[in-house]
Structures are given as C-alpha cells and as structure tokens.
C-alpha cells in the first residue's frame, strides 16, 4: 500500500516553516513583475494565491483565477536552473602575495544554506534530474553544482492547468512529478475542500510529512488527485512526436526549412537561457586596473551567440540557420546519443519567451514532413555533404 497523505494549506504553510527552521533557503513560485517566478518564500502567502497564467508563442499574461489555488499556473518564467546552476558564479579570486609564496588564490567557499523547493513543476523536476545526470554523474562532476544539489530538498507539484505552450505529456515528464522529488503534491481545488494530496518520494520526505502531521489520504482524496492529473493531460496545448527524432533531425541537416526559421529567429538567446536543461556556461576572467587582483567567474552561455562557436580564426556557426539547427539537433537528437534521453522536458518556455514566437514543436513537425518528402523523392540517393556553415 502506497503511503499517501493529505493536508490543507495550513499544512503546506507548516511545511515551509519546518524547512525554514531546519536551515533551508526555501524557494517557490511567487509573483514578481506580474509574472510567476521561483523566488524566496517564507509562507503560503508568498505563493501566487489565486493566480493563473496564459502562455502562447511570444506572449505571457498573468490572470486572476477566481479561486484560491496556490499552484494554478503553468511553467514559471525561469526553472530551478537559476538556483542550481546560477547565471553568474564567482569561482575564485586572486590577489598579490609576497615574493616567496606568489599570488594568493581564494576559492569561493561553498558555505551556503541548502535550497528547498516547494512547488517545483513536474517538468522542472525532470529537468533537474537531467542536469544531475549531465553535470554530476559523468566522468567529471561539476563541484559547484553538485554541492548545491546534494543538500537540496525538492517538493514537486502536479501541474493542474497546463498552458497553450505545454507538452510535457508527450515526453513523459508530467503533468505529475516522476521520481526524484522528496515529496510530490497534487493540489485539489473546487472538488471537495481545498487540500493537497502528498506522496513521499524519499525517507526524509516521509519524515517531513510526519513532522507536519500530514494524515493519511482517503480513497476519495487519491481519486480526486487522479482526476486533476487526467484533466491536465487532456489540456496540453501542444504535442511533440518523439518517435525517430534522431532520424528526422539527421535527415534534415540540409533542409531548406532552416532558412525559413532564420528569417524569424532573432538570435537573441532567450530560448536557451530559459530552457531548464540547457547547461552551457563559459568562463570569464577579469583583472583590476593595477594588474594585481583577478577573478574568475562562470556565466551562462548560449549556442545562439556568434561568440559561442569561436575557435582560432573565427566562429564556426556564423549564420542563424546553423545556430538554430545546432540547438534543436542537439536538444532532440544528439542529446539522446550523448546522454541517453531527449533533452526537452516539454515545459514550453522556449515557445513562450521567444520574442519571435518560434515554436519548437511546429518546427519539428515541419522537418518531419519534409523528411518524409525528402526520403520518398531521393529514394536511395547519396546523402548531401554537410554545408560548411
């Protein structure tokens, strides 16, 4: 028998309070500039109470729901990436020492409070697990990331109101949280009393639910939670066919469709910077005016900048066509070869926050259709050689 609990919003408030008392910096969805974002929260009152959202290509609007839902919106503007893999991180500083010992290098101490998330979207949970695999479970672990993740406590939430840009159901990353959360919540609004059905996903999740006195859920509570999930699945605004993505993208290297995308693409980098799985960073060094002190920082990078592919002699991907092709081919195809899964969790942020409203699902569908046409017209002809760009 699965351990399933239930509590009201007072229980959720108690959960936040316990986590804070135990020394966590608690993050959760909160309204800032009329946009839901993950930020520091101290109580249930900091959540976007009664707020929903409307998301479509290049458009985001917050709206009043007319109920007291605490999690009644789709993906926040930014994922948990901003907390676990920050956009700008000081790695070390150096200052002149005495002649014998040379420069004094000080690494940034990893002494920070552990992070807890309350209300992490299922898509964002899936993205955290992807970044864990990529950044900590390969040949060389990313020490700074691993340090932040090691102590983190994750309370994920079922998405009850997907947006027009959502397609997590296509990727199996939602609307209900999968493995990896310490506690998974489903909020029930307008179907009996306002309550949260909570499933522990780890021993410390169980311990926390015990600590806040969360009692066992009834069969009706569990059934209501299933109804929330089923209703969300039918309300996904978009769909991404995942079969043979590798074949489709590989066959599309010379597609004329890249030109059509590049007419619209502004090469602004927003898609990559809001993507919860995009993990590219670069290193910047700076010295002061005296030439004595220096510092090294790690900052977010994007494959949509010209500088990203700069090697001796110039940039490899000078055209926007080449950059979009690189991004989507990696995200959906070569990512599978490299990391064993599709690099997309279906959160739809790249669609909402693209100022040109470019829709990854639509572009793949076009490439898929073009691939079919190409295959039937070329039959067994030789594959074209990759263009130099």
């Amino acid at each position: 028998m699965t351990d399933v609990r239930v509590f009201g919003s007072d229980g959720l408030d108690a959960t936040i309070a316990v986590l804070r008392r135990r020394g966590y910096d608690v993050f959760g969805p909160t309204l800032r500039d009329d946009v839901v974002t993950y930020g520091p929260i101290e109580s249930v009152a900091d959540l976007p109470v009664g707020r929903g959202d409307e998301q479509s290509p290049a458009r985001y609007r917050s709206r009043a729901r007319g109920d007291g839902a605490l999690f009644g919106y789709a993906a926040p503007v930014q994922s948990a990436k901003a907390q676990f893999l920050p956009s700008d991180e000081l790695l070390w500083t150096s200052r002149p020492g005495d002649a014998a010992s040379g420069p004094v290098i000080e690494r940034q101490a990893a002494e920070r409070r552990p992070v807890a998330f309350v209300g992490l979207r299922s898509c964002d949970l899936a993205a955290v697990l992807q970044q864990d695999r990529i950044l900590t479970q390969r040949a060389h672990a990313d020490v700074a990331y691993a340090g932040r993740r090691a102590g983190a406590f994750l309370i994920a939430v079922t998405c009850s109101d997907p947006a027009d840009t959502c397609f997590c159901a296509s990727l199996g990353t939602g609307p209900s949280p999968g493995e990896g959360a310490d506690v998974s919540l489903t909020e029930i609004v307008g179907d009996g009393p306002h309550r949260f059905v909570a499933t522990p996903g780890s021993p410390r999740g169980t311990e926390l639910l015990d600590a806040v006195g969360a009692g066992p859920a009834s069969d009706e509570d569990v059934a209501a939670a299933h109804r929330v999930e089923r209703r969300a699945v039918t309300r996904m605004g978009r769909e991404l066919r995942t079969d043979d993505l590798v074949g489709v993208l590989y066959a599309s290297t010379e597609s004329p469709h890249w030109d059509a995308v590049a007419e619209r693409c502004l090469a602004c980098t927003n898609c990559t910077l809001v993507c919860p799985t995009c993990f590219c960073t670069t290193i910047t060094d700076a010295g002061d005016l005296t030439g004595g002190a220096a510092e090294r920082r790690r900052v977010w990078a994007s494959c949509f900048t010209k500088d990203y592919s700069y090697i001796h002699g110039g940039s490899v991907r000078t055209s926007t066509q080449a950059r979009y092709r690189q991004w989507i081919t990696h995200k959906l195809a070569t990512w599978q070869v490299q990391f064993g899964s599709v690099g997309c969790v279906g959160c739809g942020r790249c669609i909402t926050w693209c100022p040109a409203g470019i829709d990854l699902t639509a572009e793949v569908a076009t490439l898929r259709a073009g691939d079919t046409a190409l295959k039937s017209s070329r039959a067994a002809g030789p594959r074209p050689s990759p263009r130099e760009d």
């Binding site: 458009r59 503007v77 502004l266 010295g287 005016l289 977010w300 900048t305 500088d307 100022p355 040109a356």
Partner: protein, 268 residues
Amino acid sequence: MAAATKPKLAVWKFASCDGCQLTLLNCEDELLAIADAVTIAYFPEATRAVVEGPCDLSLVEGSISTPEDAERIQHIREQSTLLVTIGACATAGGIQALRNVADVAEYASIVYAHPEYLSTLATSTPIRTHVFVDAELRGCPIDKGQLVELLAATLAGRAPRIPTYSVCVQCKARGVTCVAVAHSTPCLGPVTQAGCGALCPSVARGCYGCFGPQDSANMTGMTERLVAAGVPRADVVRLYRTFNAHAPAFRTESERLAASGPQGGRQP
C-alpha cells in the same frame, strides 16, 4: 610603476555631448587607480594640463561632422598607439547622424539664427569611417564597467572582454522579466548589443537600442515582430533612427522601411 613608464592616456572630443567622457569621471571607485596607472596627457573635461604626444591610448568621443574635425582625427590617429572610440557618436555617428537621411541646410535654417556662420559637413560619420580604430565601446552613454575593463585590459596588454551578443543575454542573466513577452512593450533588445546590463528592461522599459546592433541582428525579423505588436511602420523607422541611426544594420532597415512607404516593409 615609475612615472616615466606610465602609459599616456588622452581623451579627445568631437561632435558629442561629453556624456561618455563624464563616464570616465564617474568611475568614482576606480578613478584614483586610473589616475595612478596612467599619465593623463589630454583630457579637457578633467584637467587643463597638456602633455606632449604621442600617447599610448586615445579615447575618442564624438563623430566627424565638420571639415576641421575630419582633419583633426587624422593627426590624433598619427599620435596614438591605440585608438578606442567611445559612445554612439564615435562608433555610429550619434543622434546628429539623422542629418544623413535629411537635408542639413534645412536643419541648420531651423535651429540657428545665422546658419551662414556654420561650417559643417552634410553627414555625421563614425570615427571608423575616417581612421583605423583599435576597439569600440558602444552606448549612449558608454558603460562604466566596460570602460574600466577596457583600461584594465589595455594596461595588462590583453584583449578587452566586450560582448557583442544581444541585450536579452543580460536580461536573462539578471532575471529581468521580458517586457516584450510579458507586457507587449516594443523592445529592441533582441537586435541590440549588450553592455548596459539590461538597464531599461530592468525598470520595465523597452530597450531603445543605444548600444547599436548586436553582431547577428535580424532586422527584418525584428520589424515583423514590432509590427505584429502593433507598432506602426513609420514608428518602427523612428525606433531605428535614434542614437545609432547610422549604424549599418539599423540604417539599412530604416531606409528599406522608409522607401517602401507607410504600408511598406516585407509584404505578407
């Protein structure tokens, strides 16, 4: 470092408002370190002292808008080991480059009581059009952090780290809400070079492009989005014609739009 071996710095002014020079004086925390690291050979905004050339680093503010200035910049280039232009005037011709798409005589007759006393060129052009430029700092005005980075890099003999990607990179890095997507505010951030730290979007204003075009600016794509957001095409022309009106990407697109009339631009 002995005084004799300190690099000599000069700050020159052409057609401009002096705001970029003032950015140097506004480097309050770093000003003493700067003054300690270099000999200021010529900087009328700061000192009346003049040290004989040549100089190691010339910062040049302003655009070329008179016959005399077209000559003067040649002499400055000859005296300078490194010449770096600072600000929208020096790098793109500035707001005064609006004359490039108008009749300067008509402008002069409106502004001056005695336009016959003026000696001016028909165009306002960036320094780069006249002499070789080693590096450029964009912006109206320039960013203090970029100026300090340029000076530190020059003193250390390394290349300055001046990104040429879009303003959006800095918006996202700072966690600034996208004003275009969340509020439908017209914003030139996607086609504009970073450097300001996303100053205007951080106070919920659209970027007005004061750092000029980014290295991969898709101007026709930007126009389509602005028009789709409800900006009349004539107003899109005005958005591109401000401090960087003469910057190639902005100029080409504004001329394309203007030439195609009020309903112009890419046809559906």
